[in-house]
Symmetry: C2
DNA sequence: TGATCATGATAGTATAACTATCATGACTAT
DNA sequence: ATAGTCATGATAGTTATACTATCATGATCA
């Protein structure tokens, strides 16, 4: 067996240790500075690596960006799965998810949501090759499936109205998550934005609108 | 009077003819290629101008991007105002607005919505100087005021439930516009996205959720 | 002990934002 | 009509950054 190809295999499987450390470093820097303004040098510096090393693992910046997004979304998936297996009503589960990703006191989760939102925006406008992007879509689908499960359960136990189109409604819920996280980041950056509606209030309202809609009458 | 300063005044007021033509050209190119991938050269070529001329009017690419967004949003404002003065119920007005910007057969309006969505995302991550951005916020506020008017009218005439927080709910509506336009652009770019929910269906559901929520019981 | 290979350093290319300068030709005021 | 003004275009140059190529070094592994 050729060791070169073993390394290459590891690299492609994303199981390489250094690769993981670069992804984690990149996530930090992207969160701070955004995808566009972050340079590959910034990421190398974060881990005290040579820039050539970063390029060895991620020959294109876009590849690194997708890798960060996929990594993040996979962490999300486990949260969704954990909540899904909890022993409470569907409505409670959905509220737990809202609270976890948006209203959590820890700002960390919110930052993740913001980064994912930024990624989807980046993907739809700036991503050059869509080849790696299907990986992201895969994980996104599994999250969607998990939520579908939660809602179908809710219809069975009578806590959710039975005449809704499950997949479509929850897609709206998912999108609502990301949407307001972006508004929050705008709000934080721009002082004269003050007299607009506080995004957290707006988010709470949106949550209410969705919950009221899906609740069994 | 100093002619140099007159030109400078015109330039700053945005009333200069050439300036307008550059903004219109830029809007076309930005719509096609996105903010990031569009070069100043592209914009100059679109109008057969020298690149130096473009830089004379817009010393930074960011300034041109904001100018395009403000110009676009001002066109939106007139639509909102026109619909507001129509002689029909509040619910009908809101539905007209949905239809106009998203479901319209003319793809032109949808492209505008997508460009605005892209701009807000760009503003929250990549815009370097927020100085010009307040102009955009101003117009956005006037649109918000117009919508508030529509909804308050609806509460008076009894077509809208009276216990909602008007400003917050309509902010949700406005954001829903932009959100799905981005999903649409993703959908158009990515073939293997096919088995996801059709964004137009999703958008229709969202419209339904909001309308049902605000409707008087 | 010797071969392999990840790493870092460095130099180089391409592209695009942005600056500076100057010739030209259209417009404007008298 | 003429002279001056000024928008424009052409061009050359600067800087930043994505990305490539190459080589020395030192850790690891057989």
């Amino acid at each position: 067996m050729n060791p070169q190809s073993r390394w290459e295999q590891e690299r492609q499987a994303g199981k390489n240790k250094r690769m993981k450390s670069i992804i984690e470093a990149a996530e930090k820097v992207f969160s701070r500075k955004g995808f566009e303004k972050t340079t590959m040098q910034d990421i190398a510096d974060e881990e005290n690596l040579g820039i050539a090393t970063v390029f060895r693992y991620f020959p294109k910046k876009d590849k690194l960006i997708v890798a960060v997004a996929v990594n993040l979304l996979e962490r999300y998936l486990t949260v969704f799965q954990t909540v899904a297996s909890k022993n409470c009503t569907c409505l409670e589960k959905i509220e737990i998810l809202f609270n976890h990703f948006i209203f959590d006191i820890e700002p960390e989760n919110l930052e993740c949501t913001q980064l994912l939102e930024a990624f989807e925006s980046y993907a739809s406008t700036s991503l050059e090759e869509l080849g790696d992007y299907h990986q992201y879509i895969e994980v996104r689908k599994r999250i969607s499936d998990t939520l579908t499960l939660i809602m179908e359960e809710g219809i069975c136990d009578g806590s959710i109205r039975s005449d809704i189109q499950v997949k479509e409604v929850l897609a709206s819920v998912i999108n609502a998550f990301g949407l307001f996280s972006r508004k929050l980041s705008l709000f934080e950056r721009i002082p004269f934005f003050e007299d607009e509606i506080e995004p957290r209030v707006q988010l709470a309202i949106t949550k209410q609108i969705f919950l009221e809609y899906i609740k069994a009458k």
